[in-house]
Symmetry: C2
Subunit: 170 residues, 2 copies
């Protein structure tokens, strides 16, 4: 679940920052949902064994839950899953050229093989990528625990904006 | 410059792959230029000191040159520059929702402070991000040496496609 922490950027550890309340955090998650509402595909970036960064298009499934997680369907034996299992830090970016909006979500990812969760999140548009649907034996989920969100848009004149969303460390 | 190498994916090191000729490589670069021709902004992903991945919107400047480099304007004192100087591996993704096209470019990046190159690459649209234009004392370039390109689009039914572009190691 999302916990209350003061926000201290790593390069300003000596400055005291105001506390973020739980209500703030919920509000920030709601802001994030609004930001990516009309952007179905994110680019999911991983680091491979050789330290090389790769991006993969992924269609988000369901909404961002109150524990600040994002969900994507995947093949369990795909490159990105091997990469995430080796190095769980990922970034998911959402871009809307039309809306002039750019969103960067940092977090950690893990493979989840929960059939109930898959049934909950399945949507027919995914058939393009998974022709067998939920009958695909190799289908699974990648969960992303969101740790940082930055965005740029025309509304804020493309000045860097930050949402203060924090995850409990498990 | 782009050199001729056989393409051996890291997970298939025992299979012998056909050689890529110089002409192939030029053709692949031309294919890449076509793929991102109408997509001005890329999401430039870096890894910070803590191993966290961040994405930044960046407007590409000029065309991809025959030595397989991409260029972006930046502020020399920005987070992404510090990140690149610490860990030069980056990914730049280009997404066109309209064209249903997703491009992942892996490479290494470095800061370049060449005023002649800046004059060559400057375009008025960059004023949004650099209001002082080339009079900004802190303006610089990030060069990306492209090492791998993958893409997905409706033309190829979203099956993963790879362009075989290789860089000479400096």
């Amino acid at each position: 679940m999302v916990v209350i922490k003061s926000y201290i950027p790593s390069n300003q550890t000596k400055k005291v920052q105001p506390m973020t309340t739980f209500r703030d955090s919920e509000q920030q998650l709601q802001n994030l949902r609004e930001l990516i509402k009309n952007i179905d595909y994110g680019m999911f970036t991983t680091v491979d064994n050789d330290g090389i960064l790769h991006s993969y298009p992924m269609s988000k499934s369901g909404n961002i839950s109150s524990d600040a997680t994002l969900w994507f369907f995947t093949y369990a034996d795909s490159h990105k899953v091997a990469e995430v299992e080796h190095y769980p830090q990922v970034n998911v970016s959402f871009v809307s050229a039309e809306q002039q909006r750019f969103v960067s979500i940092s977090g950690t990812s893990q493979l989840v093989k929960d059939r109930n969760k898959m049934r909950e999140l399945w949507k027919p548009e995914l058939q393009t990528w998974f022709p067998k649907g939920l009958d695909e034996p190799n289908i699974a989920l990648l969960m992303v625990n969101i740790s940082q969100v930055n965005y740029w848009d025309s509304v804020s004149s493309f000045k860097p904006q930050k949402l203060q969303i924090f995850q409990e460390t498990h």
